[in-house]
Amino acid sequence: MDSILFQNKKVLKVYGNTDAITLKRAHFSFYLIIFGFFASAAALISTIFQSYSLPNFDIQLPIILSILLINVVFIITLFYFLKGNLLIAGNLVFYGCTSILWGTILIGGTVPLSRLNTYFFILISLTLLPLIIETKKKIFLFWFFNIVMLCLLYVKIYFFESDLMDPVLLYDTFIDAFLSMTFGSLAMYAVYTLNEMALDSSAKEIAKREEIAEELRFHKSNLEVLIEEQTIDLKNAFSDIKKGNNELRLKNIELENTLINLKNTQARLVQSDKMASLGVLTAGVAHEINNPLNYINGAYLGLEDYFKNKDNQNEAEIEFLLESIKTGLEKTKNIVDGLNQFSRTNVDNNETCDIHSILNNCIAILNTQIKYKAEITKEFKANHFNVTGNNGRFHQVFHNILTNALDAISENGEIKITTQNKGEQLVIKITDNGHGIKKEQIDKITDPFFTTKPPGKGTGLGLSISYSIINDLKGTIQFKSKEFQGTTVTIKLPISIVSS
């Protein structure tokens, strides 16, 4: 109901911003004033009519005047209420009504009937009291004002209208009025105090609730901050992971590239190992070929001299010179033959390979290097020495092993090469008395790029390539070595089915 009323246009506008208690006060005050206005208007009309019927019209005048004044006060009050000024309206109606009432009583209210008519105003004023009085001081003022007025009334009746009342009854009435006024004020004070305490406790309760709400808000905002922080952390972690992922992807690509590079490098190194072997080879071959060519050349020069100077005839000398030419030619032919084995480009593993002649070829090619460093002992005991494979590759294997043996020897070396048949296998053993291989290195010697030679001298691929060549042919290659004593390489190969 309240809400409907205060949602009504003007009233809502006026009290919209005030608190609930003030609204309630305004609510009751407003209707009381309207009620009071109608009541006092009715009283006015009835008093006027009564006055006409009575012979002493004059006596009624102060009463009519007072009621009229009260009506005016009510109208002004209503005006202030509608304007929204609750304080002015409240005070106006209270003090206005009370003053008019007392004024009427004191000036002309000796007629008991006139006092009865004021009942409405007293009722309205008293009802309004709790609504208007908002301080303890006002309660005291109300009490004091009424006591003063009561005293004035007592004095007036005692001294000027003593004929109307028995002094004892007057005194008794005065005491009654005084006590009821005092008790009324005390009751009002009590209600006010209780009200204040209730308000205070509710305010405290509200404050407490607000505190809790504030705390909750704080926690909530804290929580929000925490959540935000966590979210940021998570986002960061996520972006970190994303970044990490990206990095991993890049690393992966890099690794893939490195792998490709490595493969390329390996291929190049395999090629360079071949080229290195070839380099050693050509230097050796050049020397080897130049030597027999020197025989031929020298023999030619000798023969030239001989035929220019016929006097100097010497059969033995001619024979020697011719023999020199023949030896030179044969040696050159052998070297070129051996060289051809290396330059073969066939990659198939289906050739019949004569291991003995391959070993001889390799010895011939390494002759220059072997000659001044080591003595080679050959014990070719195998009857079946043909295996299926690739001639060029076998040359590579034995060239590598013999080169390593030579590199291990500093001087006065011995290299022993033996072949023999064991069951279906051809076993080739190459033993040297070089500086050997350290115990901790023997497992690594077939690893690609592992080398004990100084940088630039070895690629570390020789034995790795040899190992894979032998492996491809279903053979095995083993290394036994003692440091400072020498190394034995044992190669086992399946004998070719079409062996001789």
Binding site: I289, N290, L293, N297, G298, G302, D305, F320, S324
Partner: protein
């Protein structure tokens, strides 16, 4: 007749020594050694030798090692290297610091050796 130039030829291969003898016996008075050690002995023995021609690759001691040692003992004598190998950095250095007067390559050019030694 003018006395022939005395030459020491060092080579480990008999065939080479004999062919050298056949080719140059008309021009030089030739002594032979089989390797560096032998060469040093022969130099001590035949102090009148003025020109020494050595092979490069030999057992015990390389031609260059022999020449380095011999040159320090006999700085006035002239040393030559005769080898089937291509000229190497080591040989180039020896030529540059005058340890070796000239490098001959096998198969040799007889006229080149003859004119160098006789000049």
């Amino acid at each position: 007749m003018k006395e022939k130039v005395k030459v020491l030829y060092i080579d480990d291969e008999t065939l080479n020594r004999r062919i050298f003898e056949f080719n140059f016996r008309d021009y030089f008075d030739i002594r032979f050694a089989e390797d560096g050690i032998d060469g040093l002995d022969k130099l001590k023995e035949f102090s009148d030798v003025t020109h020494i021609i050595s092979d490069y690759r030999m057992p015990k001691m390389s031609g260059l090692e022999f020449i380095n040692e011999a040159k320090s003992l006999y700085p006035d004598k002239l040393f030559y290297l005769l080898s089937g190998f291509d000229i190497t950095a080591e040989i180039r250095e020896a030529i540059d610091n005058k340890t070796i007067s000239k490098y001959f390559q096998k198969p040799y050019n007889r006229e080149d050796i003859k004119s160098t030694i006789l000049s």
